[in-house]
């Protein structure tokens, strides 16, 4: 259960170009569901998602995860929560070029320092699960868009997070690949993961697999705006 209470975020505070990206969002998110945040670009959905995913801290307001307050943790501890709880799939995949697919998938586990053999096995198993085992030793820049997206999902899942956050995951995919991706996200929900997606792609938020759609407008929930 994720609870947001009057969450606000301002960039460049105290300067002339201050920007209120999120202006007070109060929201409860149920576990083991696919929730889509939608709204026009600039509506604050990415910012909100990055705060929920403990990538950044709200300027004010509180975010708590299963009763633990996340919003006032220093970065060091936010990272510790983040790497065990959240997995991220980014709009531009954000795989590290020059490394192989396998290495990219293993990367989030490096700071946790598991046994190397175990980690490799885990990564290979994940890749096999998403039909990527043939590509494991290829460099990521040789992958197609769909393959890169799957590699990114494998990477997001390597630390077995409870919550998967995807930011505009279909932006670089064609319709067929997008539908496939939504299917994958749905499968993850079946595995007991909470899935949070930011997207203004109708293919995504109109999909049957989506349990809830939260609409944002100008940094506020559309219902409040």
């Amino acid at each position: 259960m994720i609870e947001l209470r009057d969450v606000k975020k301002v960039f460049n505070q105290g300067r002339g170009n201050a920007l209120w990206a999120v202006r007070g969002v109060t929201l409860d998110l149920e576990p083991r569901q696919v929730t889509v945040f939608t709204g026009p670009s600039g509506s604050g959905k990415t910012t909100l998602l990055s705060m929920i995913g403990a990538l950044s801290r709200p300027t004010s307001g509180r975010i708590s995860l299963d009763g633990t307050l996340l919003s006032n943790l220093p970065e060091r501890f936010m990272t510790q929560v983040r790497r065990r709880t959240f997995g991220f799939v980014f709009q531009r995949f954000n795989l590290i070029r020059g490394l192989t697919v396998l290495e990219n998938v293993m990367l989030p586990a490096y700071p946790l320092a598991p046994d190397y053999g175990d980690l490799r096995r885990r990564a290979r198993a994940l890749l096999a699960q998403f039909g990527m085992d043939a590509k494991a030793d290829d460099k990521v820049e040789w992958l197609s868009g769909g393959e890169a997206q799957r590699a990114a999902i494998c990477r997001a899942l390597i630390n077995a997070p409870l919550i998967l956050i995807a930011d505009e995951p279909t932006a670089n995919l064609d319709s067929a690949r997008s539908r496939e991706l939504i299917g994958l996200l749905g499968e993850l929900q079946d595995l007991g993961k909470t899935v949070l997606v930011a997207s203004h792609d109708p293919l995504v938020f109109e999909s049957a697999r989506v349990s809830r759609v939260v609409e944002l407008r100008d940094g506020l929930l559309a219902e409040d705006a």
Binding site: L55, S56, R76, T79, R83, N94, Y110, A113, Y116
Partner: protein, 382 residues
């Protein structure tokens, strides 16, 4: 502890792949770094070798040498001073020495002409007309045993000496410009007054009495200056230490340039690198992990450069006889001894080298690395 080591290993994995992905940038840095280590290490190994060699070899110098000075300049030593010294407790032998310099215009070299001391075991006083020469003179003038060497004396008349023997090649470091000749030849050649010597040597058996003897000498003969063996040794120790330090200071500019280069390299991250750090942080790397990874990068570079530079310097100094420095060291000297430095390496040298190279590099990169490491983790989402 095991987890700590495992984590470091993962970080090394990543650092190496990061280094390998930008070979051009890092090879340039490595090259400069290695060069800096190589030059400093060469200077260090070479001077250290000479320093130890001087200490070992000159430990056999005379205990006390007495020079006469007039108006602050060296002057010839009257023979009667030998008697005026009289008997001093602890002095086992005393005798006058004859030696001086001769400039040979034919090859523009300075020779050191010397009369072997009485009872010198290896090379007794050469017979009249004979000389024993150092390997440097022989090489420069193309002389062999039995050849004649003709020099113009102080009175302008030519003197022909027969080369009776060569000093062994292995002793060149101390003898390359020596020319040993008989006392009568020496005095006639230089028109040296018969009742004078160049200086006086005193042998003192018990090293504890040397200072006492020197004190008595300067009281008895106020216009003289005693030079003690320990002073010779200390002079050489200090001179080579000083030289080494001077070169290090001169090379300080080079180290500084390198530091600025390293700073620049560490600070001037490309957008691609910045994005990578952002990705790492967003997928769960902590700032501390990124810092450690970056320091591993530095450590790998430093270790490589240090090993390479040091080993190259070792080969350069001890296998190629410091060929790169020869022109500098030779200065204007025509007679340069041909010798192979003997390796004397100790921990303090390596530690000093480390402080002159790795330490500045590390310090210079702390702030740029930190700046990189605190990249916003949500930067990749914007």
């Amino acid at each position: 502890m095991r987890q700590f080591l495992r984590r470091q290993r993962y970080l090394i994995d990543y650092s190496l792949s990061a280094l390998a992905r930008r070979p051009g940038k890092h090879l340039a840095l490595l090259l400069v770094y290695t060069l800096v280590v190589f030059l400093l290490a060469s200077v260090m190994l070479f001077t250290q070798s000479l320093r130890r060699e001087a200490a070992l070899v000159l430990a056999q110098s005379p205990e006390i040498i007495l020079q006469r000075q007039i108006a602050g300049r060296h002057d010839l030593m009257p023979a009667e001073y030998l008697d005026r010294i009289g008997r001093i407790r602890g002095v086992s032998a005393k005798y006058g020495r004859l030696w001086g310099y001769f400039y040979d215009p034919a090859v523009r070299a300075n020779y050191t002409l010397m009369v072997p001391p009485p009872g010198s075991p290896a090379h007794g006083e050469p017979a009249p007309g004979d000389i024993v020469i150092g390997a440097g003179i022989a090489r420069t003038r193309g002389l062999e045993v039995g050849d004649y060497l003709s020099l113009r004396s102080a009175r302008g008349e030519p003197f022909a000496f027969r080369v009776a023997a060569l000093l062994p090649h292995s002793t060149e470091l101390v003898s390359t410009d020596l020319m040993l000749l008989g006392a009568d030849d020496f005095r006639r050649f230089f028109a040296f007054p018969a009742d004078r010597f160049t200086d006086i040597v005193l042998q003192v058996r018990n090293p504890r009495e040397v200072r006492k003897v020197a004190e008595k000498l300067s009281l008895a003969l106020p216009d003289t200056r005693p030079i003690l063996r320990e002073e010779i040794l200390r002079t050489y120790d200090a001179v080579f230490g000083w030289r080494q330090g001077l070169v290090f200071v001169l090379m300080g500019g080079m180290v500084l340039a390198f530091v600025i280069f390293a700073w620049d390299r560490a600070a001037g991250l490309s957008g691609e690198e910045r994005r990578e750090i952002g990705i790492l942080k967003s997928i769960g790397w902590e700032t501390g992990d990124v810092l450690r990874m970056k320091f591993w990068e530095g450590a790998i570079l430093s270790l490589t450069a240090f090993f390479l530079g040091y080993l190259l310097a070792y080969a350069h100094v001890f296998y190629l006889s410091a060929a790169l420095f020869e022109p500098v060291l030779k200065g204007w000297a025509v007679l340069y001894p041909d010798f192979r430095p003997i390796p004397f390496v100790d921990g303090i040298q390596v530690a000093t080298l480390f402080f002159f190279t790795v330490f500045p590099y590390t310090v210079a990169t702390i702030v740029p690395i930190w700046r990189t490491a605190v990249t916003d983790p949500d930067a990749v989402m914007r």
